[in-house]
């Protein structure tokens, strides 16, 4: 009899794992059952802000592979079906048909993949669940937000949180003609960067007409007579809002795993080995937004919800479940984003991360241009580097600029992975031609300054 693989969660990690396992083993050898509670599979959640903003059509365009396509490839996919319990001892999961009332049933497994994703942080505040308050984690969320925008007469939007999703949603709502206020709890702007680099983003956002309020502690969502959101209240004042978007990041969706006694890390994500098998388990793998990943720079595990990691996890899990071999060695913490034409990128550790990891470091920040200054369209680019004291090992890089800024962070991402020092980086043979780079690429300029800083700091 064929083994049965059960996959919980039908987005990037889960369906990549299922597809990869399917490629390795025939249906007669491995039966694959996948459960997905939403209406969609294998979609790009990262594309939701651009769908909401009207830059891309959706939701179809965001879907890499539909339920029908998965089924045609031999995966028994059960949509709108929520897994409600993991029974690891007996090797079975309990699932409920969300559209069919209260019907629940058990499905046995030989191997289990958990890809339950993440959910938006939603603090327990009065009114937080009122109509008009939206997360943007799933395509269902995106559709719900678009429905609200279509039926709301107003023009004022409040975004709570100034991380990547927050700034991307600010741009989306500007594109929809809303006046946008971004409220952030922290005193520093753009908490995904160091304060000095975040300040550049803050200034640019103001220039784009996005009101950004720092140190804004939200206390409630105020509702109107019909119970709909009408304003966001902070400790100091209130901000009228026809629509409220939550951009405070996400938490791993690991309630099921926790109930089953599986090991969770400090951020609440599942802990796995390098083959993405859940620690201490023989037959359970996990990947995507519900796991913690090893940060190769700090040595800690972290929760990073990002589609590119989820896809890699799925490939690794599928290979291992299918009897092959693959590992996910870890991440260096690369992230890129944009708000209008401002590109924002980071990789490795911020200053506060480095301090938390017990690392001593120097920093160097430079301003250069995306390409030769004399070539038309040269725009400023700021690069900040952190390097370990004494060893000079690169610890992190942040870049803020216009065209060509974001993907330059990949240079530093590879250098971090390879454990290079900033002095080694000064000799990197990077592509140079006037339309693409100054003769000293901004990353090289930063590496030179960081090298000098390491030397100046001495022993």
């Amino acid at each position: 009899m064929a083994e049965r693989l059960v996959v919980v969660g039908g987005d990037a990690a889960g369906m990549s794992a299922a597809s990869q396992a399917r490629r390795q083993r025939k249906p007669g050898e491995l039966e694959i059952v996948a459960f997905e509670r939403s209406h969609f599979t294998s979609y790009s959640a990262c594309g939701i802000p651009y769908w909401v903003g009207g830059t891309v059509d959706g939701p179809e365009a965001l879907i890499a592979r539909s339920p029908e396509e998965h089924r045609a490839r031999g995966i028994d996919l059960r949509m709108r079906t929520e897994v409600t319990e993991l029974d690891l001892d007996r090797g079975r999961v309990r699932a409920r048909d969300l559209d069919g009332g209260v019907r629940e049933s058990w499905t046995g497994f030989d191997k289990l993949v958990l890809a339950t994703g993440a959910r938006p942080r939603r603090p327990a505040l009065p009114g937080i669940d009122a109509p008009g308050v939206h997360g943007v984690q799933t395509l269902d969320d995106g559709q719900a937000l678009l429905d609200t925008l279509a039926t709301t007469g107003g023009r004022r939007a409040v975004v709570v949180g100034a991380g990547y999703i927050g700034v991307e949603m600010a741009e989306a709502l500007i594109d929809r003609g809303y006046s946008v206020t971004v409220l952030d709890r922290r005193e520093q702007p753009m908490s995904t960067l160091d304060p000095d680099m975040g300040a550049l983003v803050h200034t640019a956002m103001c220039g784009l007409g996005i009101e950004t309020v720092r140190g804004a502690v939200v206390t409630a969502v105020l509702t109107d007579g019909a119970g709909r959101a009408r304003a966001v209240a902070t400790e100091d004042t209130e901000y009228p809002a026809d629509v409220v978007v939550l951009g405070m990041g996400v938490r791993p969706e690991t309630a099921l795993a926790a109930a089953a006694g599986l090991p969770l890390g400090e951020s609440g994500g599942l802990l796995t080995d390098l083959g993405m098998r859940v620690r201490g388990q023989d037959a359970v793998w996990a990947g995507g937004d519900c796991v913690e990943v090893l940060d190769l720079v700090s040595g800690h595990t972290r929760h990073i919800a990002l589609g590119t990691h989820a896809n890699k996890h799925g490939q690794v899990i599928g290979a291992n479940v299918g009897g092959g071999y693959a590992t996910f060695p870890g991440v260096v913490g690369t992230a890129v984003s944009k708000v209008c034409d401002l590109e924002i990128a980071r990789t490795g550790l911020l200053e506060r991360h480095a301090l938390a990891a017990g690392l001593q470091f120097v920093t160097a920040t430079i301003e250069s241009t995306n390409h030769a200054g004399y070539y038309p369209g040269a725009r400023p680019m700021h690069v900040k580097m952190l390097a370990e004291r004494r060893t000079g090992r690169l610890l992190g890089t942040q870049i803020v600029g216009r065209e060509g800024a974001a993907k330059r962070v990949d240079i530093a991402a590879v250098a971090l992975t390879a454990g290079m020092t900033v002095e080694q980086m000064t000799a990197l043979d990077l592509g140079y031609a006037p339309p693409f780079s100054p003769v000293w690429d901004p990353v090289l300029v930063a590496a030179r300054k960081a090298t000098a800083a390491v030397r100046a700091a001495g022993a």
Copy 2:
């Protein structure tokens, strides 16, 4: 008494070395005399095609630092002065004032930096020196070409050679309203890439209205009654030309060094140690387009004329001459270019280079897009990878595409420097967001396919 440093050649390598040495040692400790035979110092030769094409103003915009600025920083710079002999035994150089008749004089040195650059390949063919035939190596060359364009009534240009300079000059002349024919000796298009990738460039150039002739062996430049170039003759036919541009690459300008008995490599470039000191010499350094550099992938030395290397050499030489310490570890052979909106990039070895180095390899070529397919403006991107048989070590990467293609090669350049395998590359944490990359960056897709090819090739 102060030591005297003599620098031969006032462009990137020479003046970077002089400037860096100046920063390290005061005029009372180190006198610096620099000789430059042209009218310009410290300029971007790589910008000449864009100046000729009218994209950038010139020549001033291409000059990073003028003779006056260098002099103000304490460098005794002698313009329009050509060094005609190196007397290493007696520690002196003979120089001639090009604007002052035949005056020659000797200048002694304690330390010598050779930065004599390169000169365009100019085969000994009938008519090759006729008016209307132009190299584009120096600002003087660029000005002479622009003078010809301004005084020539015609509209037909022939570019000889389809390397980087050839295609960039083709674009420049198109921009000037010329109809352009590119003649290349080889049967394969774009010899800086493998034939399969070069074919993509060839097709795109045809689409831009650039006539490209392969296997065209030039036999003469035909002249009119006044002795001006009027056509380029090949073995098969002739191509009318109001202006002829030589884009056949460059050779190291090392006649002086050869006459002085300094060691030259197979390409005719000076051979140095890792500190850029000429091999076997105590007091002579060399850098820029007149030297050969270590190719870290093949282990051979190569001649690569590129401003970004020249600037690094200058920094290293200046540090060492000034009593500090720096090295230039070598290159991986990265080059980027464009013709109109087509971006062309490579790093590491081509197939023929790998064969010549005794390496066995597999290849993988993929087509992807510069960013998420659903995000507006997604354009095709082709990536080819070479990986060593068995070990899977990355040997080279070539990319042809539109926006965002060229600088992606930096990812592979860093991976090559670090000695990564293509399988290690599949796990790289590269920046992902829909406006910047598909969820699998094209470089990752190529690395995955190359990994599979390594595995399929077996032992």
